[in-house]
């Protein structure tokens, strides 16, 4: 078996506020294999997003280890973690987080620029990525003129720009209607089937049903996990999660 692309060992995240310690993540052990589509589900405050931030090198654990492709993140400098985010980890946010002053094409191109891709290649790749998400006709538009679904597709194109080894999605359907949510999940499914590792945080069981593995979190702890097979089936996903104690 190949080593996991991302792994946590007894990882904790404790936030301190006004002298009160909040344990957002409590001793989670997790390993995600390359090419796996993994969904982290759980109620609000279960630690899903905190765990995702730790996996994405955007935050550092209070205790424990996060290992990305064999590298211990705690041993990396801020600049090295930034490089990691630029080249090897792609992010998709619930609120899209596109740069409003840049056009659709520029929003994708800037990720390539941060990844150190030469100009000529950037031009070609940005256009190809927009074609991949079906937005080549909207390349010159500003994000404000796009629908929520279109914005999230731009965010996916941006996240895929540097061909990252790991794609992290935080509630990617949270701000979308049902149809757009389904379209985005189908897109993520296709990306995962192409060999890309995807870790998604969601509280939407329909979205979670597109994953290969669903991991249940509650109160900062990992409560269980289930492997899904076949076509996305929300009913099956909910039943499995109830069996885990949702």
């Amino acid at each position: 078996m190949n080593p996991p692309i991302i792994e946590t060992k007894d990882v904790w995240k404790i936030y301190g506020s006004n002298g009160v310690a909040v344990e957002a993540v409590r001793g989670i052990d997790l390993a995600v294999q390359a090419g796996e589509f993994c969904a982290l589900v759980g109620p609000s405050g279960s630690g899903k997003s905190s765990l995702l931030h730790l996996l994405g090198a955007m935050d550092t654990p209070s205790r424990g280890e996060v290992i990305f492709a064999g590298r211990l993140l705690a041993q990396l400098s801020d600049a090295q973690r930034t490089d990691l985010r630029a080249r090897e980890i792609g992010f998709i946010f619930q609120t899209f987080n596109l740069l409003p002053m840049l056009t659709v094409w520029e929003n994708v191109e800037i990720a390539l620029r941060l990844g150190g891709v030469p100009l000529a290649e950037r031009k070609q790749r940005a256009s190809a990525l927009l074609a991949q998400v079906g937005l080549q006709e909207r390349a010159r538009h500003l994000p404000s003129s796009l629908s929520g679904g279109e914005r999230q597709r731009v965010a996916i194109a941006r996240a895929l720009a540097n061909r990252p080894r790991l794609l992290l999605a935080d509630e990617p359907t949270g701000n979308l209607d049902s149809q757009n949510g389904t379209d985005i999940m189908k897109m993520l499914r296709v990306i995962a089937e192409g060999g890309q590792t995807v870790v998604m945080v969601t509280h939407d069981f329909r979205a979670a049903s597109y994953a290969d593995r669903v991991i249940l979190l509650r109160d900062g702890r990992l409560r269980g996990e289930t492997h899904l097979e076949g076509a996305p089936d929300m009913q099956q996903t909910v039943e499995r999660l109830f069996q885990l104690g949702l």
Binding site: M58, A79, D83, M101
Partner: protein
């Protein structure tokens, strides 16, 4: 670099950016104006003193004249020598008689700047000894000699003032004079001069028995120290100044001008930095989420710094570019000055100054920006 993004951010806040650019332009033009005018003044003093090389200016100033004024200010309206003393001075041995003369000086028009050469200066001088005053400067048109009692030699600036060329008639204090010649462009003391015969000037000014000063030129340069010693021994009540002494005295004035210039520049830089810093700090606060996003998707600290620096630099440099036309406009409207080419060196220096303003102004907002936690970008609205 993210300069394209910086330009878009500036465009988004274009109203505020325009005001900022204008404010910087006002600050920078203050530097341009002050330094250009002071620099022109400084060069003029130096050229005048250089033109006075090898000469001794003898004056008698009132007792309450401040120390240094005798040598530091060539044209002193309060100096007065009786004719007998002037004649005695001109009879001293070892003089170049053709280049020595009594002179009567009177301002005909004030300068816009205090304590500078008058805009028009009447110079009464003995005909045939015009070189005592004009020195090495050459004629631009006509002759630099006064052929009769009602002839005049004009400096280039004075000729422009009267719009007169050789042969033309001009009126001075109600009397007509014929222009004999026009001097080439020279420092203001010569440029603004109107030379007429000494006796005519005395009659015109009602000072038949006195002159303002005597200009003495040694026949040999090596005779200068002896001439000075003789003057000091025989005429202790008179102030005799060579150009070296005047240079020394002018050095004090120039040092004060330099201090004034530095103070104005420091003020311009300080105010410019504060203005841009306020605007860029505000911009960083507004762009917090976007900067957080950039950090989240892999923008290094230096890229964020370059973004903030670009915003500050673009505004400060555009301010410096705009400062030149403002300075030109102010000079033309306020004092009718048209020596605009003299502004260029200071303006070019101002571009560097504006870059310094931009860099200094970006330090605090850049520090704030690079310390934005990428998790900011994930906070849902």
């Amino acid at each position: 670099m993210l300069i394209d993004l910086a330009l878009k951010y500036i465009w988004r806040r274009r109203g505020r950016a325009l005001l900022t650019i204008f404010a910087v332009a006002v600050m920078v033009q203050l530097h341009i104006l002050a330094n250009s005018v002071l620099s022109t003044y400084r060069q003029d003093i130096q050229r005048q003193l250089a033109a006075f090389a090898g000469k001794v200016l003898v004056q008698r100033l009132p007792e309450d004249t401040p120390e240094g004024a005798a040598s530091g200010n060539f044209v002193n309206a309060h100096s007065s020598l009786d004719l007998a003393t002037a004649d005695a001075l001109l009879d001293l041995p070892g003089l170049d008689a053709q280049a020595s003369s009594a002179v009567l000086l009177a301002p005909l028009a004030r300068s816009p700047m205090p304590d500078t050469t008058p805009a028009l200066l009447l110079v009464g001088i003995t005909p045939g000894r015009e070189t005592a005053y004009l020195g090495v400067f050459q004629s631009a048109a006509g002759a630099l000699t006064l052929p009769d009692a009602h002839s005049a030699i004009l400096g280039a600036g004075a000729a422009e003032h009267f719009a007169a060329q050789p042969g033309a008639q001009i009126t001075l204090l109600g009397q007509a004079f014929t222009v004999a010649g026009v001097l080439e462009a020279a420092p203001s003391l010569f440029n603004n001069a109107v030379l007429i015969p000494l006796e005519t000037a005395q009659a015109l000014l009602g000072r038949e028995e006195t002159v303002s000063a005597v200009i003495l030129t040694a026949a040999q340069v090596e005779d200068m120290p002896g001439l000075q010693a003789q003057l000091a021994a025989q005429y202790p009540a008179l102030q005799a100044a060579t150009n070296e002494e005047m240079l020394r005295s002018a050095g004090t004035l120039m040092s004060q001008l330099d201090s004034l210039s530095s103070a104005i520049t420091a003020t311009a830089v300080g105010v410019g930095v504060v203005i841009i810093m306020i605007v860029v700090v505000q911009a960083v606060l507004e762009q917090r989420r976007e900067i957080g996003t950039l950090r989240a998707i892999g923008a290094h600290h230096w890229r964020i710094y370059s973004l903030v620096l670009s915003e500050a630099l673009v505004q400060s440099l555009l301010g410096a570019v705009l400062a030149l036309p403002i300075a030109v406009l102010i000079l033309r409207l306020a004092v009718g000055w048209d020596k605009f080419t003299t502004l260029l060196p200071t303006w070019l220096e101002s571009i560097g100054l504006a870059a310094l303003i931009g860099v200094l102004a970006s330090l605090l907002p850049a520090w704030q920006a690079v310390h934005i936690n990428p998790l900011e970008a994930l906070r849902y609205e």
